[in-house]
């Protein structure tokens, strides 16, 4: 089998199919131009997007939030709509808006009260290409507004902290003053303690004992006096009896004398005291009567004296009784005094106990005061530190607190568009599909029109055939690789067209990729009954590789095993190689070996599988 003949045959086959030829070259150009136009300019991601707005708060805070949005995207304000929340939600649900923001009523007041506010954003997440950008943009806007509000809040907090610092300084003085006061109290307590300790309760007890003794003596004296008084009283009673007798006697005498006087008077009355006979007599009688009268007066005087004596005795008796009562009262008083002395003793004992307790309490209080003093130093220390910390805290810029980390992107490669990233993936992707489709369908066609069997009749070695077929189809596709290389360089400036080394590197990558996928396409063809099967099988192989190439979804977000498979795929290896040139200007030929290995392995698989073809 002659490689040149195979290449000529395949080349003529490809290039004589007009439509295939046009598609072969036009499609990649169209794809590159269209995608270059779509992704080839730097733009904010949602600048062309219209967002619905339902501002139910219409406040400074909502305005602050919206000011960060309107500069980057179009905002359609539906706040005047009745039930605008439902309205914008419906607009999103029915696909007329990609997203809508609802600022709730009480947004600002809620923030001022320190409550987190729930800002609803309805996102049409069926638009998978725009919804993540909108969500990210909204998050950024919320974060930006949050930072502004946060900075304002922190500024006010700083002011309050500064006030607190000043108050702490005052508190520091108060603490020092309190400590001094405590020290003074402690000194006074010490004095009190000393005073209490110096109290000699034994003197008091001795005095009390002496008083008690005196009272006992007084009681004894009073008992003796009472006995004496009782004795006097009894004697006075005797005297009174005698006086009473004397009085009765005197009264009898007085009565006798009265009778005698009456007899004399009677006797005189019987006499004519005018008669001189009786004159003497009458005189005598008068004299007698006068004597009797005098005697009677004397007796009456005596009676009176006896009576006075008896009254004196009564009075003396009363005085004795009074003395006795006084003595009784004095004894009671003495007993009471003794009780009081006892109470006093108890009081003194209590006082001693109280003193002990007081001294213990004073000691405790002194300890407490010592602790207070110690704590006051600690408190001073704490307050001083707190003051310093407050100064440190409030010296910080509120903005730096809200956003302690400021992102300073250093774009090492200048402004890049998505297409710059896309292009190193796009070239291999186009060639992958072209290689798969053309190699698989062309071989299926040969299989179905019998020419392949005719080739097998020549008993060509299956490995030789597979290898030459792979090379042949790959050579036919090389102009496509050249075309794509030139477009990437000349139209999109992905690399310098005059840098032969780089151009060759890119071309070599694409050539190896073509070899690998042509080999895979040959295997697909062997197992396909029709061109449609081969086409679909190529899609089944190509599409997963496309999605696993990192173009659609970053490797970093894939499960580890899938990421490993994706990175090991020939498409990804080619993408890596081209990225090393087009993005990093540092060609890394690591993937070349892997691509070549794929080409060899699938060529061998094709050779082994060739026996299946009947």
């Amino acid at each position: 089998m002659d490689l040149r003949s195979e290449i000529e045959k395949d080349g003529k086959q490809f290039f004589r199919e007009g439509r295939t030829l046009v598609l072969l070259f036009a499609v990649p150009i169209i794809v590159l131009l269209v995608l270059g136009g779509v992704f080839g300019r730097t733009t904010t991601e949602i600048s062309g997007t219209s967002l619905g707005l339902c501002d139910l708060d219409n406040s400074t805070a909502s305005g602050l939030f919206l000011s960060g949005i309107v500069n980057n995207t179009k905002v359609l304000d539906y706040s005047n709509q009745s039930v605008c929340d439902s309205f914008v939600r419906k607009e999103v649900i029915e696909g007329r808006l990609p997203a809508a923001i609802v600022i709730p009523e009480g947004f600002q007041s809620g923030i001022e009260k320190g409550a987190s506010q729930n800002l609803t954003v309805y996102i049409d997440n069926s638009r998978t290409t725009t919804s993540p950008s909108i969500e990210a943009f909204m998050k950024a806007a919320v974060q930006d507004t949050g930072q502004k509000i946060g900075a304002q809040f922190i500024t006010s907090v700083w002011a309050r902290l500064d006030d607190a610092g000043i108050q702490l300084q005052g508190l520091l003085k108060d603490v020092a003053q309190s400590r001094n006061e405590s020290q003074r109290v402690k000194a006074r307590l010490q004095e009190t303690s000393d005073s209490l300790s110096s109290i000699n309760f034994s003197i008091v007890n001795n005095e009390l004992n002496a008083a008690n003794f005196t009272i006992d003596k007084a009681l004894a004296s009073m008992e003796s006096a009472e006995s004496n008084l009782t004795l006097i009283e009894s004697r006075f009673a005797g005297y009174d009896e005698e006086l009473k007798q004397n009085e009765a006697d005197l009264v009898d005498i007085n009565n006798t004398l009265g009778n005698a006087s009456a007899y004399i008077a009677t006797a005189k009355a019987g006499l004519n005291c005018s008669d001189p006979l009786f004159v003497a007599y009458c005189f005598s009688l008068d004299s007698l009567n006068a004597s009797v009268g005098s005697a009677q007066s004397s007796v009456e005087e005596r009676i009176e004296k006896v009576r006075i004596a008896r009254a004196d005795l009564v009075e003396a008796n009363q005085t004795i009784q009074s003395f006795k009562r006084d003595i009784i009262s004095a004894r009671a008083g003495a007993g009471d005094a003794k009780n009081r002395i006892e109470n006093m003793r108890q009081f003194v004992r209590d006082l001693e106990t109280s003193r002990e307790n007081s001294l213990a309490t004073i000691l405790d209080v002194e300890d407490s005061i010592d602790q207070i003093i110690t704590k006051s130093y600690d408190l001073e220390n704490i307050i001083s530190k707190a003051t310093v910390q407050i100064k440190e805290i409030t010296s910080r810029n509120p903005q730096s607190v809200v956003s302690p980390i400021i992102l300073s992107p250093n774009k090492l490669f200048g402004e890049r568009t998505f297409f710059d990233f896309l292009l190193p993936s796009l070239l291999p992707m186009i060639l992958m599909f072209v290689s798969l489709f053309l190699s698989s369908t062309s071989l299926v066609r040969e299989k179905n029109n019998g020419t392949l069997e005719r080739i097998k009749l020549s008993r060509v070695n299956s490995l030789e055939f597979s290898a030459k077929k792979v090379i042949s189809v790959a050579v036919v596709l090389m102009p496509e690789a050249v075309l794509l290389t030139l477009i990437a360089s000349l139209i999109y400036g992905a690399f310098s067209a005059v840098d032969a080394g780089t151009v060759f590197f890119v071309f070599e990558t694409l050539a190896l990729l073509i070899l690998a996928f042509v080999a895979i396409g040959i295997v697909i063809a062997i197992y396909s009954e029709s061109e449609a099967t081969a086409f679909l099988a190529s899609l089944v192989i190509g599409l997963p590789l496309l999605f696993l190439s990192g173009l659609v979804f970053p490797f970093e977000f894939m499960p580890t095993a899938i990421s490993a498979v994706g990175q090991a795929s020939p498409l990804t290896q080619a993408v890596f190689s081209l990225q090393s040139v087009m993005l990093y200007k540092s060609p890394q030929a690591i993937g070349f070996g892997i691509l070549l290995l794929y080409a060899i392995v699938f060529t061998v698989i094709a050779a082994v599988s060739m026996r299946r073809i009947r």
């Binding site: 003949s5 086959q13 009749l457």
Partner: protein, 319 residues
């Protein structure tokens, strides 16, 4: 003459199907050898084994006295039944490509191509794409492609299938010419008995994976030996007619085929009136009746039918 192909007890079994079973055949050098058999008889499997596309499970096959090898296979040229050419390549490009597969390149390839195009009447189509050729021209180009490396053994797989009668007869001439001018041994497989009769010096009938008969045209016809009357009737209840026809004196065999009922006798023409009477009696309306000496096709039908229903012979009825 030396044997070109010697096949002995070839067995080839595909999953669920025995394709060849004790297939033995010798083909001598020179001339056109016909290989006939119904679909699925095993002809194609034998050809595939002979060309190296398949290997036999057991048995032996030699080509030019040697076991098959890559080198010996290159002595074979195959013109498949389908037109296996590249429609987007010109006639000469097709020829040069298929020549290159056998190492025929350069001037020799071009000389061969031009010669073959001339021989097959395609000289004026040299630079015409194969896709633009008529059916007959494509078939000739297909044949030319098989001859580019000047094979000593040419296998033509039903070369006239699908061609109109005129083109087919032209093709017969081409095949004859090729056989003579290229001095190649030709193995021809065909369903057209007259084609085999017209072209082949020897014919092998293949059925159920075996060669059931082999010989020259005359030898094969002698195997049939008798005159044959074939009738097609409506409604065609041949099962009930068979025993009645068998009772006619001189009737040797009755064979029911897809093409009607075949009555065999030394003098079948004298039995026609009696045969038609039985048909009428049974309510069968004869729509076609032919009386002939046995053709190759009759032999084919007889042999393959007998082979298919051997058990039925006991009852005197062959289907």
């Amino acid at each position: 003459m030396a044997a070109v192909v010697e096949a002995e007890n070839l067995v080839k079994i595909f999953p669920g199907k025995v394709t060849l079973y004790n297939f033995s055949l010798n083909i001598e050098e020179g001339g056109i050898f016909g290989l006939l058999g119904p679909n699925g008889a095993g002809k194609s499997t034998f050809i595939r084994i002979l060309t190296g596309l398949e290997s036999a499970d057991s048995g032996k096959i030699n080509l030019y006295g040697k076991p098959l090898s890559k080198e010996s296979a290159k002595k074979i040229g195959v013109a498949p039944q389908e037109n296996c050419v590249y429609p987007l390549l010109t006639c000469v490009e097709n020829l040069l490509y298929f020549g290159s597969l056998y190492g025929v390149t350069g001037k020799k390839a071009m000389d061969n191509a031009v010669r073959l195009l001339n021989e097959l009447g395609l000289a004026d189509k040299k630079n015409t794409r194969a896709g633009f050729l008529s059916g007959g021209m494509k078939r000739r180009l297909n044949l030319a492609c098989a001859l580019m490396h000047e094979p000593k053994l040419l296998i033509l797989d039903e070369p006239t299938t699908g061609l109109d009668p005129t083109t087919r007869r032209n093709m017969w001439g081409v095949v004859n010419k090729i056989s003579k001018e290229n001095k190649a041994t030709v193995i021809l497989t065909t369903h057209y008995m007259e084609e085999a009769e017209a072209l082949c010096y020897r014919i092998a009938f293949v059925n159920n994976g075996q060669v059931v008969a082999e010989g020259s045209t005359e030898e094969l016809k002698k195997m049939a030996g008798k005159q044959i009357a074939r009738m097609v009737s409506v409604p065609g209840d041949y099962e009930s007619l068979g025993p009645l026809l068998k009772k006619i004196p001189g009737i040797e065999s009755i064979t029911v085929t897809e093409a009607g009922i075949v009555v065999e006798s030394d003098e079948v023409s004298s039995k026609v009136s009696e045969i038609t009477r039985i048909f009428t009696k049974k309510g069968e309306k004869i729509v076609e009746l032919s009386v002939s000496k046995p053709s190759l096709e009759d032999v084919f039908l007889k042999i393959t039918g007998a082979q298919l229903k051997k058990e039925a012979v006991k009852g005197g009825l062959k289907k």
